[in-house]
Amino acid sequence: MKYVYWRRARQIVQILSLLAFFALVVYTFRDVQRPVNAQGLMRLDPLAALVTSLSTRRWIAAFIPALLLTMATLILGRFWCGWLCPLGTILDVVPAPSEGAGDARSGWRGVKYGLLFLILFAAFWRNTTLLILDPLAIFVRSVTALVIPGLNWLIVQLEGTLYKAGILRGVVDAVDAALQGTIISYRQPYYQGVLPLSLLLGGILALNLFKKRAWCRYLCPLGGLLSLLSRASWLKRRAAPSCVECSACEKVCPMGTIDGDEMYASDSGECILCMDCAADCPQGAIRFEGDVSIAWDKGYEPTRRQLLTALGASVGGLALLRVTPSTHHPDPRRLRPPGVKEEELLATCIRCGACMRACPSHGLQPSWTESGIEGLWTPILVPRLGHCDYSCTACGDTCPTGAIPSLSLEEKRETPIGKAYIDPELCIAWSGRSPCIVCEEMCPLPGKAIILEEKEVQDDRGGTRTLQVPVVQHERCIGCGTCENKCPVNGEAAIRVIVDPL
C-alpha cells in the first residue's frame, strides 16, 4: 500500500470538508430557505450529543449522525480529527514548529480528559456553558461572527472602490450577484464581543506556535471523547521490525504521539490517521492494520483522582455560576429568541451560534454579560443591531438541539420576547424637538402596537407645541425590536425593548 497516496487523499478530504463546512455555515443565513445549514455540521458532534442527552435526560433524535461518527471512531480511531474536523484542518495549515514536537508521554495530554469529565458532570447538572470549547461550535461561531462579517466588509469596500473608480463594473456586478445573500448580506452584519471571540480562536491558533496541533493534543474536549473511544479502535498503527530507528516518523507526527523510546509505537487514542508517518517512512515499516485491543498504558490515562476533581469542580463551578446576580435577577436586556424557556435554553444550547448566522437581520447576538457567565455566547436579541423579523422563524428552525423551539409563523407572531418602553427625554417627539413617528411607522404588527397621540409637549426652549407622540400598547407588543432598531436618535434608542417587567 502506498501511504503517500493515502496522505494526499487525506489532504484533499480535509480541504473539501473544510470548504463544505464553511459553505454550510454560509448557507445557514436565512435569505431564502435552504435545504442544508450548519445544523448538519453540529449533528455530527458526539460531544454535543452526549452533553445534551445528559442535560435534558432524553435522546435528541437529530444527533443520529453523531452516533454514526461514534461507531466509525470505534473502528477507525480519531480519523475525524485528522481527516474531517474543520478546526483541525485550520490547525494543520497554521504555522507550527516542525522539529522536536514529539511529547508522546506528556501528562498535558490528560487535560482534555479532565475537561471532558468536567463538561459531562456539568451537563448532568444541566449546565452546558463549557461547550463554548467544542471545536465545531468554535468553528461555526467564529465563521459566523468573525470570518463572514469581515469578508463582507472587505468585499464591499473593494467593490465600492472599484465601483466609484468606474473600473471592472461587469466583474464587480457578477461577483456581487454571486455572493449576495451568502457572504454578502443585504446589511453589513456586526457582532458584539468580537474581542473575546477572537481571543478564544486566536489563542487556539497561537498554541500551535508551541506545539503543532497543541489544542488537539491537550485540550480539545471532543478530541478527548474521541480519544477515549479510539483507545479501543480496531485500526491501529504498527511499526514493523524493519524499522531502522531513523525517527523520521517521530518528527513528522502532528500529534507528537510517536514515542522514540518505545520502538516508535504510538497511542491509538492520539493517532489521527493522517498517514504522514507511513508516507515519510524510508523503510515502509509503518502499517495501519486491524487489531482488537485496548491501549491503556500511556501514563496519561484518566485517573480516579481526575474524575473526582472534575466532579468537585463541576459542583463548585455550578455553585459559583448560580450565585451570580444574573440568576437572581434577569438582566433587562436578556432578550431570548421567541419561545425560549431560560432553564431549557441553558441546559440545551450548545453555543454553536447557528441561530445567529441564520438570523436575517443579524440581530441575534452572542450574549456576553446579558445572561451571566452561565449563558456565555448563548443567543440574545440586540435590537439596536437587528430586529426580530415579523415573518421569520429561522432561529428555531436552525437550532440543532431544540434549545430554541421551532415555532410556526403564527405562533412566533404571538410569542413576546420582551416589551418596548419609550424614554421620553430621548424621544424626538416626546421631548418636543421635532415631529417623529418612525417607531410607529415601522411597527410590523397589523393594527400597530405603537399608537400616536396628539399631545402638548414642552420643547427645549421652554415653550409648548402640539405633536404626535408614540405610545406603546404593551398588551399587543411582542418585543420584536423593530422600533428600537429604526429609532433615529444617535446612540441608545429612545424606545427600547426589555424583558417583560410584568
Binding site: 489532504q11 504555522p95 473593494l158 466609484k164 443585504y186 415579523y390
Partner: protein, 361 residues
C-alpha cells in the same frame, strides 16, 4: 504543504491589507457629482424644519412650461447633476395626467400609460430602465396593500421592453426582511421575471454620497447610483396611509433610492422633496388598485385595505400625488412633500388647470 501554506497565508494577509488601504484611500464622492470628497451625509439646516425659501431662484422649471428657452437651460442644468433624462413635457395630443378605473390591473395600467402618450414618450430604444415599486417588507402578500401590485409592475416592464428598452431592472430596499424574500413575498419577482425584467438586489457598495444641487434642507445624501445613472426611472408607488407624511405616495416611495432613512424623518416633507429633485423619475404610475387606508406603511390587516381599482399615470410625480390625496379624503396641501415639491417647481399640485383624463374600462 506547510511551507506553501505559510506563503499563501502571507499573501492573503498582504492582499487583504492592501485592499483595505485602497478602500480607505478612495474618496467617497460619486462619479457624477462634483462635491467635496470627504463631506458626510449632510443637511443645510439640521433638525428643525427648514423654512422654504420662496425667493430662491428655482433651478428646474415645471415640466409643463412650454417655453423652449427654459427647457434648454433646464436640460443643461440637469445634465451636470444627473445622467437621468429630464422628465419629458406633455405632447399636445396626450393627457397631462390619466386616471383609469377598471378591475383588470394590467388593462388599466396599459391604458393609463397610453393616455399620457405611450411608453415610447419616455423610453427610447436601447435605454436602461429602472422600475421602482414599493416593496417595503417581506411580511405580507400584495393583497394586504403594503407593496405595489405585481401586475401593475409587470405591465410597465412589458411596455418598457416593447418600447425598445435594453434592459429593465426592478428594485427596492425593504426596511424589514431581506430584499430577496420581500421580492418573492410581494409576488413582484415572479411577475417581473415572466414579463422579461430583472429583479436587482440593491448592493451596499452602490450607495454613494451624492450632492443634491437643488436641495433646500439636504446638501447630499447616500443615493443608489444606478438609479441616478439610469436613462429612465419609473416610480410605481402604492397608495398608502402613513402617520407622519400622512400618505406614502410617489414622493415618499423615492425613499427606496437612498440609505440612512430613519434620519430623513426630521423635516420629512422637505427632505423628500430634496430627494425627488435629485432622482426626477420620468414617469410615475400610482397603483391604487388596492389602497392601504390605515396602519401604513406596513399594513397586515385586510380590513385596512380598500379596493379602488385605479391606476394614475403622469410624467409629473407631484400631480400624481396631488390627484391621489383626495382618495384618502385629504387635501394635497396637507401633505408636506407635495407642498415642498411644488415650492421647488418639481411639479404641479394645483390640478384645476391641467388636462386630466378620467377613463373607465
Amino acid at each position: 504543504m506547510e511551507k506553501i501554506t505559510r506563503r499563501a497565508l502571507l499573501q492573503w494577509s498582504v492582499t487583504m491589507g492592501l485592499a483595505t488601504m485602497a478602500a480607505s484611500c478612495v474618496p467617497t464622492t460619486s462619479p457624477v457629482s462634483d462635491m467635496d470628497a470627504e463631506q458626510p451625509t449632510s443637511t443645510k439646516t439640521m433638525g428643525s424644519s427648514a423654512p422654504v425659501d420662496k425667493d430662491r431662484p428655482t433651478a428646474t422649471p415645471a415640466a409643463t412650461q412650454p417655453k423652449p428657452g427654459v427647457e434648454e437651460a433646464t436640460a443643461t442644468k440637469l445634465a451636470q447633476s444627473s445622467a437621468t433624462r429630464e422628465p419629458s413635457p406633455t405632447p399636445p395630443e396626450a393627457a397631462y395626467l390619466a386616471a383609469v378605473h377598471g378591475s383588470d390591473p394590467e388593462a388599466i395600467t396599459q391604458r393609463a400609460v397610453a393616455a399620457i402618450g405611450g411608453m415610447e414618450r419616455f423610453v427610447q430604444p436601447g435605454d436602461d430602465v429602472i422600475v421602482k415599486p414599493n416593496i417595503c417588507n417581506a411580511n405580507h402578500s400584495f393583497e394586504y396593500a403594503s407593496t405595489t401590485n405585481p401586475q401593475v409592475v409587470a405591465t410597465l416592464v412589458t411596455l418598457a421592453l416593447e418600447a425598445g428598452a435594453k434592459r429593465v431592472h426592478v428594485m427596492d430596499n425593504p426596511f424589514s426582511g431581506t430584499a430577496q424574500r420581500a421580492y418573492e413575498r410581494s409576488g413582484i419577482a415572479e411577475a417581473v421575471k415572466a414579463a422579461g425584467g430583472t429583479m436587482e438586489l440593491m448592493s451596499q457598495h452602490k450607495y454613494v454620497e451624492t450632492d443634491i444641487p437643488e436641495g433646500k434642507d439636504l446638501e447630499s445624501w447616500l443615493f443608489y447610483q444606478p438609479i441616478l445613472e439610469a436613462d429612465v426611472v419609473i416610480d410605481v408607488p402604492i397608495a398608502k396611509h402613513h402617520n407622519l407624511a400622512h400618505l406614502t405616495l410617489a414622493g415618499k416611495n423615492l425613499m427606496g433610492t437612498i440609505e440612512n432613512r430613519p434620519a430623513m424623518h426630521r423635516n420629512l416633507g422637505q427632505r423628500i422633496a430634496d430627494i425627488t429633485s435629485r432622482v426626477r423619475p420620468q414617469l410615475t404610475v400610482m397603483d391604487a388598485v388596492r389602497m392601504l387606508m390605515d396602519h401604513g406603511p406596513t399594513g397586515g390587516d385586510l380590513d385596512d385595505v380598500k379596493r379602488a381599482d385605479t391606476v394614475i399615470a403622469s410624467h409629473d410625480l407631484v400631480a400624481v400625488d396631488a390627484y391621489t390625496t383626495p382618495l384618502f379624503e385629504m387635501e394635497p396641501e396637507d401633505i408636506g412633500y407635495i407642498t415642498a415639491s411644488t415650492e421647488m417647481d418639481l411639479g404641479e399640485m394645483d390640478l384645476g388647470h391641467l388636462d386630466i383624463q378620467e377613463i373607465e374600462i
